[in-house]
Symmetry: D4
Subunit: 232 residues, 8 copies
């Protein structure tokens, strides 16, 4: 086969293989899904994520993977996050309260899909998520109470997603003492440069202690947050 699975990954990193679907042929997605679950033993819990999967491709998979469904697998699709989770057990079974909590913020409503991608990855990794969306620095009076609340809820890490307000992570990191993960989004127009302005603003923040990931990379932010909280 053309695709080589990294089955040790879950042991090493705490969450299963995630297939980056964008740009893959549809036929290859079907092969990947079928091959992945071929060797699952009876009663073994198993799941696989397809990220960046459009709604229409999900709908086709939903038809074409009926064999898997007959074997007891569910196809849970989150249209905001554009993630398909194929699994034989519910996501909530994974949550482990020992891992603590992770907070997720967005500057605008258009940044929500990236935040949702991170949320599902974190839940798949067994950690609880607290989120607050559409709190930008241009309206600082809306932002401050949300951060206070997260501090009171004792989050162990905060993910801040923003496309047009790259300063959100700076303001947050100036107020909390847990690690802050900044996710630039490709939202905006003109000089937003598909997210590069937000990315650069985040990287050159004056508030030290900020971790940055690639533009729109909710997936990477989620995995990083898990790696941080699991290393307690």
């Amino acid at each position: 086969g053309l695709i080589k699975f990294d089955r040790d990954r879950e042991d090493r990193t705490g969450f299963p293989e995630a297939v980056y679907s964008s740009g893959k042929d549809y036929e290859d997605l079907i092969i990947i899904a079928n091959n992945y679950f071929k060797s699952v033993k009876p009663n073994e819990k198993s799941s696989l994520l397809f990220t960046r999967l459009s709604k229409s491709r999900f709908e086709s998979l939903n038809d074409d993977l009926s064999d898997l469904k007959e074997k007891g697998f569910n196809l849970d699709y989150n249209p905001k996050a554009k993630i398909l989770r194929i699994n034989n057990y519910p996501l909530k079974d994974k949550i482990n309260p020992d891992y603590g909590k992770i907070g997720i913020l967005t500057a605008g409503t258009s940044d929500i899909p990236v935040a949702e991608e991170a949320k599902i990855v974190i839940q798949e990794g067994g950690c609880e998520v607290i989120s607050s969306y559409d709190v930008g620095v241009a309206g600082i009076h809306r932002l401050l109470p949300q951060i206070s609340k997260m501090v009171k809820d004792k989050v162990n890490c905060i993910i801040a997603c923003a496309g047009m307000e790259g300063a959100l992570p700076s303001v947050v990191a100036g107020l909390v003492d847990v690690p802050v993960i900044a996710v630039p989004t490709s939202i905006g127009y003109g000089v937003s440069d598909n997210g590069k302005t937000a990315l650069f603003a985040m990287l050159q923040s004056c508030a030290p202690g900020i971790a940055v990931v690639n533009i729109d990379n909710g997936f990477g932010a989620g995995v990083l947050a898990l790696t941080i909280v699991k290393n307690h």
Copy 2:
């Protein structure tokens, strides 16, 4: 002569010709200064600004323009702003309380030279300046009281200078109802891209009502502020 003065400018815009010194030959600076004041009538008040003038070039001019000094002209050099003001009357004589007040903020201490350039231009234009430096958004608890104070002092316009915290004007504009002029500075390293990241962050701010000028352009920000407050 090679240089053509724009003597109508002061009438049109409220401040005198300002010579952009950087990149001009030293000999040309001397010619410009001498020509400019040649036609000044006895008792006529007159002044000329040289911007972007290094300290060492000022010191040479101070020697080589002794003729002008004998004719009653002063050479006032501001080393932070890098502006030389040649004049036969003090700057404070120009201040006209009817123009109101203009506030100037900087995010860090390294942004101060740009702010000082704006300050001198505004004072030359006859307007009072209130300034507060080194108030960044990463320490929001330091910023909010400064803005409150400016609002209480009834400034008619605020200039915000920042290199590493392009969000400063956004936060300010979200809190006041006067025009905010954003001046990106070339302070920073790595992805700061000599000020482009700050510039772009300011241009794509979600807080509408922000006017942006070129990187390090304290001069332009000052003139714009004057144009705004004089059009009351």
Copy 3:
């Protein structure tokens, strides 16, 4: 709800919340519109703008927001500006002659949509607009009389929109003494770089006193103009 309204904005800035529609899910637009007017009291005047709304999405909203129409709200769509105004009173009722007049120029015909976006925002803010389109610096003989006319009409601020002739604001600012707001547009090809060449040409203009906003940001230019003229 995912979206947080900024209802204080109108008090602070003189015009209502404007929803940036591009990139939002259609379902969210409906929720926003319905929620926004839920708490409007009988006989209270209220309006909401949706910017960057395509014609086809407007047509769907026109069907799906029939409830609002029954409650007496109108859906006025301007296809050049791509703005939908939902309201229970006509735009002309807002005009307040005390605010003065704002002039709007475009270099070419293709820059008109950006100018129209600014125009509607300014009218929503209560200010009169005088416009003159397709006057580029390459045909200086067409431009000069238009500017003379605006000066005679005593505009308090001029907005100049241009994609392929970034020098338009420079030429204008050299001739008038009111603030000039430059709006680069993404019109052009090759080295126009989707508006960045116009943006940069405007920012580095030799004529000081020019305020620049993001590429295609007619909205921001309108709000800035309002903030300037209302601070008289």
Copy 4:
């Protein structure tokens, strides 16, 4: 004074104010140092870092801050890291074994200064450092044993610095399960683009769970590592 200290920072983040010296006037550095220690009480332990300080400026400070030395303060300068530490107690007194250990790797010998900047910041924050320099991915046989060793030494976080081999953090993150912090350096020529190629290569790594900071930002990497390990 022009400079506003953030004295709460140490409480919030676990390390003292660090002055970014590059681009500040020499006179301001002296004022900052003197003001900072003015209010230190007898027997109170206190320290201050000046980062990005050239050797020649250090030598001048060493002469001009003799007053501080008389009061019992030491000026420890690390020429690779370009950090001056002014303090009245040795760095090793700060190390707290509870915080665990942080590993630091560099791809080449030219990346060492950035690594050393991180090292001093981490030690100032009280954490032990294990380092291994000049291990690039182009010689994978040199890299693998170094990573094995760090895993055996139970580091809680790894910082990987590289200018010409942006893949170093990817390879490392594929082999360990602790958070990996990637620091691009400005080492290289031609398309290295002063570190942007390394930065982008690190951000788009296929190995998820990598935190990235600004180019040459050893300081930020050190603070981020401290924030992560202290949140155990």
Copy 5:
């Protein structure tokens, strides 16, 4: 005719004219195909490649070139490589064992189309190909055995294709002593910059002896590999 064939090319370089189809009018493709084979003598072996040809355009050509098919020509289309080969003899007849073998690697599954483009060009040039796909540096344990195998198979040159892991050729070149050809692909998002990040990472590799070609240029990589192995 508008198009000028380079019929000497095959003699000089060992493979036939290849038409870059993308951006050419469909009508021109038909003219090219018909003209090319017009002068082929009976029993003369002849072939022509159309690269970057979409599946739908191939299907149209398949109908519209029925004349050629009647004259004994086959239209072999490889949908991954997007290459159409029109010919009157099978590809395998070209393979000449004297040329040795060329290895092809990809970092991810999405890089496979570029690898396949190279493969067909090399086979057309008469050389055997050994390939191994989806072996990235982030999972070094999957990569090392693949390289060992190629070394044992005595490949004379290795082509490494990667979009998100620009370091793949560096790692390979550090382990083998045959020339390594690096092909950046446009796979990725955010800072991948359509392949420029991979391209630059490959060019600035510390492992010397790497030849780089344009982004997605599987064709050029294949021709270069042939030129190298044929010059034994």
Copy 6:
């Protein structure tokens, strides 16, 4: 020798070899000068230009080329243009009134060096030059009379040099019917991007019929102007 002269160039293009001095070793400059004039026959008129030659390098050459001076050659150095002309006859002997006249404009005083480079090249080519410097579009009332004058003087081609006012050639080309050559200069700061903003603004001008050359390339503009007027 390392350097290959192109002695046919003067016949083909109407002006002699010009050595681009910047970046060449000083020793090579001496060799070039001596070799060039070695084969000049008694009474043969000959000249050679060194462009981009710093004043200090000229002064050294003036000493080290005393042999040439003894053979009757002059070393004429223009410090604004940074051109050294080595010759055995005066520049004015070259002027041929049949070639017509070429006009040269600059937007600011800082653009003059580029204009002077063009001027000397044109005179070397035998054509008369009319120049007017420091006429920018921001002060259109200064520009229009200068252009009128050039039209009355019947120039056959106009060269317009500008760094901060890329629109100068557009305005000029809108008013005259001779070819306009636009020369962007690297004057400016911030978004001027070392001349790229002026270059791009000139290239995308709405006034067709403008020829553009490289940033600061007064040399190329001069040669192009000569090629145009000599092809009458």
Copy 7:
């Protein structure tokens, strides 16, 4: 009306108003066409060009402008050039042998549309065109005879269009003594950067005397060529 015609243009520059259709509303195109010919007197020859007009928009105009056709106007559409010529007399009637001849070259077949745009503009301006397409520098043996032929045909100016071989104008200018106009095209992929690589390669050519225009700007190249040859 929104659009202001520049009816003096033909007198000034020798060819009529050309409407840049791309990005204009279809309705505006109809208005422009009808308005333009409204004031044409009986028997007056008149024509108007629409550039960058897609085939489908032409077909609609062909239907919707039937009124013009009834008044004796023809709609001649060139699908390669994407130019519509509305006129009441044939193009060949314009050719004036006194203007001489202009040569047009392209590097590849994909550059032909740009060349055709230039060709029609030149013919509209009354000048004869000689063209030779698909002659790239990579096959120098095909290029040299074409240039010889143009020299023998005594062309007065050569236009060279190329996307992937920016060196074409350099090679040509090294061989001829007439002005060479270089037109970069957006053909290519990867680092071609939509024509910027060709543009920059042309601008920095070592062969002086080359005039460059914007990417894909066949129109501007045509007008420039006319301006040059008409100024004989």
Copy 8:
């Protein structure tokens, strides 16, 4: 020690460790040199290259490495190539005629240093070099005979270095059938972008079979050429 030698490299790649001196501390260079030769056995031939070493640093090393000189080592410095070769045997002893010959071309005289860097590396690797400098495509009549000569001399590979004429490798590759290695140089100004324009022009060449290396990377080109010819 901070530096880790890669002593197996010579066996793997055919030439010794080369130290990239630029950016390394002077003290580290001394340590590297001394350590490297510490373990050399009596009569064992050994050499080490320092690349990118300035003349003044060489002169200091020449003094400070007198111990090595006493042990029989020579310090051979090539000032064009900026390479120091420390060795106990002459370079010519390495040449092995079996490896064939490698040709080196430059477009201009300023590209020679890059060519010389490649030359020394190749000679160190045991291969003969034939070079021809200052042959640009703008003077094609100078270039063609040089290439003919190299073909007659039966070179096995050609290296073409160019900054302002990125097309040189294309023209060469169109005429020969051996691999062509293109080395962009940082020579030029304005849009040359420190070599990126040449780099991109080389990468997108229409002549397939060209291998490209980093800007100014004569070193890498030399190693690549060796790898190619040694794999015969």
